[in-house]
């Protein structure tokens, strides 16, 4: 039809050309309208807001960071039937401007003291080793994480050398490839370092380093969307629950709420869509505490179960990019000093990324992501220059701040169900390690939801009930 019509134009008189040109556009518009009116097109007479989530979903994941998308990916991978499970990922900010994932330094290490943490990062490293087998999408480029295999180097003083040896034994037992170095070996390996005060050091030999968090997030998101996960940009403002009363063995009456609807509010609008769902996953990172308080967790009387809040709050951390042309070269590992200062190489041009966790009493204000350069001048620089003398001459070229989803209870991840909300799974509180543990945590939560228990890595030690029973499991190697 179209071919015949075009040839008609060329053969006809030029007088009629303007009329025919207009006619051509009108006919095209008519054809489009006719196609839209046919069943199977997206047109509907009712004007709907674009970007609304579906009215019904099986699993709603609150939070579109790397943990949220990893859970969505593994849920779809485990549910082998196409469209067998409808998963919706709700993310507040489409630009990811304040998300912890993209503002992270991107490091991955196995040098923890808790064996569950070591197993989580080891699994994630193996996932990233074969990432194209997992996350390759038809007709798209292969995933490139820009992984730098330089390893982590932890330094210990006299006081903490024995803790480092203990941790070394645990790490080796679980299967991480770590080596202990004495100060003289350190001096021979890294001549640019000042050994004063260092009694022992532990260097990761394999599966440790840093990578690009945005590539991992995008790879997980692209693969999950290709498998049929729905993505919605909106903010979760509340839940509609069905409440039941339950009595504990002590005779206390508790309000057990089962989530029926998740209210997702559209950006820059008052309009919200209640999404009917079976399971909700709280992977909101730094805002997980806010989501939990929407369900009344922590708002009850102090002595009861409902009075214990979710101990996850945002903590601001600064990252400074410094340029030092005489700095250490390609062999710079991700150096972590016992004073808390960390430093890693960025690129090949003499740029380094450095920072430090502030003291508990001097936590910066969390209302915004402004950078405090005084912190670098007063706290970070002299410690950095003490450890690496070349850094006495440097220039801060850039800096940014990001939030840790800090678990104030024991700085380890919280994974599991809350007794008062039987269909909300928590996967939060990783205190700076969410990125490196995300593939493994995603699989663990997917196994909890679909199989009812852990199959690959047993994370019962990280269950939420330790918060309610007040039994912390402490991790001594937090940066």
């Amino acid at each position: 039809f179209a071919f015949g019509y075009n040839s008609v134009i060329t053969k006809r008189n030029k007088f009629f050309l303007p009329v025919f040109r207009d006619l051509d556009a009108q006919l095209r518009a008519f054809r489009d309208k006719a196609a839209a009116a046919m069943p199977g097109s997206d047109w509907s007479p009712i004007e709907l807001t674009p970007g609304l989530p579906p009215e019904r979903a099986d699993v709603v994941i609150v939070g579109g960071g790397v943990v949220g998308w990893s859970i969505a990916y593994w849920l779809k991978m485990k549910a082998r039937v196409r469209d067998g499970l409808r998963v919706l990922v709700v993310e507040k900010d489409p630009t990811y401007s304040q998300a912890s994932t993209v503002l992270s330094c991107g490091g991955i290490r196995q040098q923890f003291s808790l064996k569950e943490n070591i197993m989580l990062s080891l699994f994630s490293a193996h996932f990233m080793k074969n990432i194209n087998n997992h996350l390759c999408v038809v007709n798209e480029d292969p995933v490139d994480l820009q992984f730098n295999h330089s390893g982590y180097l932890f330094l210990a003083s006299e006081k903490s050398a024995h803790i480092m040896e203990e941790n070394y034994r645990t790490q080796r037992y679980v299967g991480a490839k770590v080596a202990l170095l004495s100060p003289s070996q350190l001096k021979e390996r890294f001549p640019w370092m000042n050994m004063e005060g260092v009694a022992l050091a532990s260097l990761g030999l394999e599966n440790e380093g840093w990578f690009d968090p945005w590539s991992l997030l995008n790879a997980l998101r692209r693969k999950a969307v290709s498998m049929g996960v729905y993505q919605c940009f909106g903010e979760v403002t509340g839940f509609k629950c069905a409440a039941n009363l339950a009595e504990t063995t002590d005779g206390e009456v508790l309000n057990v709420q089962r989530i029926k609807y998740v209210n997702v509010r559209m950006p820059n609008s008052l309009e919200y869509q209640p999404v009917e769902c079976a399971v909700v996953v709280n992977a909101a990172g730094a805002n997980s505490g806010k989501i939990a308080s929407m369900l009344g967790i922590g708002l009850g009387p102090k002595e009861s179960v409902s009075g214990v809040p979710l101990p996850v709050e945002p903590r601001k951390r600064f990252v400074y990019v410094v340029h030092c042309p005489d700095g250490p070269g390609l062999d710079t590992p991700f150096l972590i000093d016992y004073s808390g200062v960390y430093c890693r190489r960025e690129g090949l041009g003499g740029n380094y990324i450095t920072g430090m966790s502030p003291e508990e009493t001097e936590e910066p204000d969390i209302s915004n992501l402004d950078v405090d350069h005084e912190f670098f001048q007063e706290k970070v620089w002299h410690r950095l220059a003490h450890r690496i003398p070349a850094f006495e001459q440097l220039k801060v070229s850039n800096a940014w701040a990001g939030f840790y989803d800090y678990n104030t209870f024991d700085q380890n991840g919280i994974i599991g169900l809350h007794p008062l909300v039987p269909n909300m799974y928590f996967a939060t509180g990783f205190s700076g390690h969410g990125l490196q543990q995300s593939p493994a945590v995603g699989l663990a939560v997917a196994e909890l939801i679909l199989d009812g228990g852990y199959k690959t890595i047993d994370l019962s030690a990280l269950d939420l009930k330790r918060i309610l029973l007040q039994e912390p499991i402490l991790e001594s190697n937090i940066v």
């Binding site: 196409r82 469209d83 080793k129 194209n132 087998n133 997992h134 390759c136 999408v137 038809v138 007709n139 798209e140 480029d141 292969p142 820009q146 992984f147 730098n148 295999h149 330089s150 390893g151 490839k177 390996r189 030999l205 394999e206 599966n207 380093g209 290709s226 498998m227 049929g228 070269g329 390609l330 062999d331 090949l348």
Partner: protein, 259 residues
């Protein structure tokens, strides 16, 4: 859209595989490959056939790099490592012996290496084989390995280099030329090979600044001689600067000739 999702699979598609092969520096694909690729954009059947082809190839790589556990348990680590290298069509030489064990052009080899189960392997030539980081599991116990040649291995990537730390006390020579997947992040892992004396990094397409990488590697491994990259590679040379440099060179040459 649901039809498109039905076609999704976990393995690399034909177009991506060809793009990867092209980026590895191979010549432009043959008319036949280009024709098949064009057809696969129009017909699902052709695309599926090409996908199966790539899936079979990747399964072949996985099969080649499996752990030779039976051989390790019954004949010892050295014999298992030797058997593994020969099945991959590589060659090796035991420590203390001077003759190399090689397969012939058809891939057949003699089983003489089984007569010396205690001899450790000293030199290995795995150029052009399909070894990857999983296959290295068969060789980790060879702590006397001195020379390793991985010239033109398509499956050797940064994770493979990170696993080479097990040879940190013994490896003296490493040849990584023409391995298309290696980047600077993997070369940074070579800091664990403290005894390395010769390193070849020629023909690595993913290195943007080979000259700079050579300088950084020489700084990182002071006893090592890095070959395959000239210091000027990767430098941006404006045309006028080249001409004046050419004049300078010509004048110095003539100057020297007169001496």
């Amino acid at each position: 859209m649901s039809q498109a999702m039905k076609r999704c699979s976990a393995h690399t598609c034909a177009a991506v595989a060809v793009r990867r092969a092209l980026s590895s520096g191979a010549a432009t694909p043959s008319v036949y490959t280009r024709f098949l690729l064009k057809l696969s954009h129009y017909f699902y059947d052709v695309e599926n056939i090409l996908d199966w082809n790539n899936w079979l190839r990747s399964q072949g790589v996985i099969h080649k790099n499996r752990l030779f556990g039976y051989a390790q348990k019954n004949f010892g680590n050295n014999v298992a490592a030797a058997y593994y290298i020969l099945t991959l069509r590589g060659s090796f030489r035991f420590a203390g012996q001077s003759e190399w064990f090689r397969p012939d052009s058809r891939g057949r080899f003699s089983y003489d290496f089984m007569s010396t189960p205690d001899a450790k392997i000293e030199e290995v030539d795995l150029s052009g084989t399909l070894i990857n980081h999983n296959g290295l599991e068969n060789l980790v116990k060879q702590n006397k390995l001195q020379t390793l040649s991985l010239r033109g291995c398509p499956e050797v990537d940064d994770w493979f280099l990170a696993r080479l730390h097990v040879f940190g006390e013994s490896l003296v020579e490493l040849d990584l030329s023409h391995c298309s997947r290696i980047t600077v992040g993997g070369l940074a892992a070579l800091q664990n090979l403290r005894k390395l004396e010769r390193l070849d990094i020629s023909g690595l397409p993913r290195l943007q600044n080979p000259g700079l990488v050579r300088i950084l590697l020489e700084e990182m491994l002071p006893h090592c001689q890095v070959s395959g990259a000239e210091y000027e590679q990767g430098l941006i040379q404006p045309d006028s600067q080249e001409q004046t440099e050419g004049h300078h060179e010509a004048s110095t040459h003539t100057g020297l000739r007169h001496l």
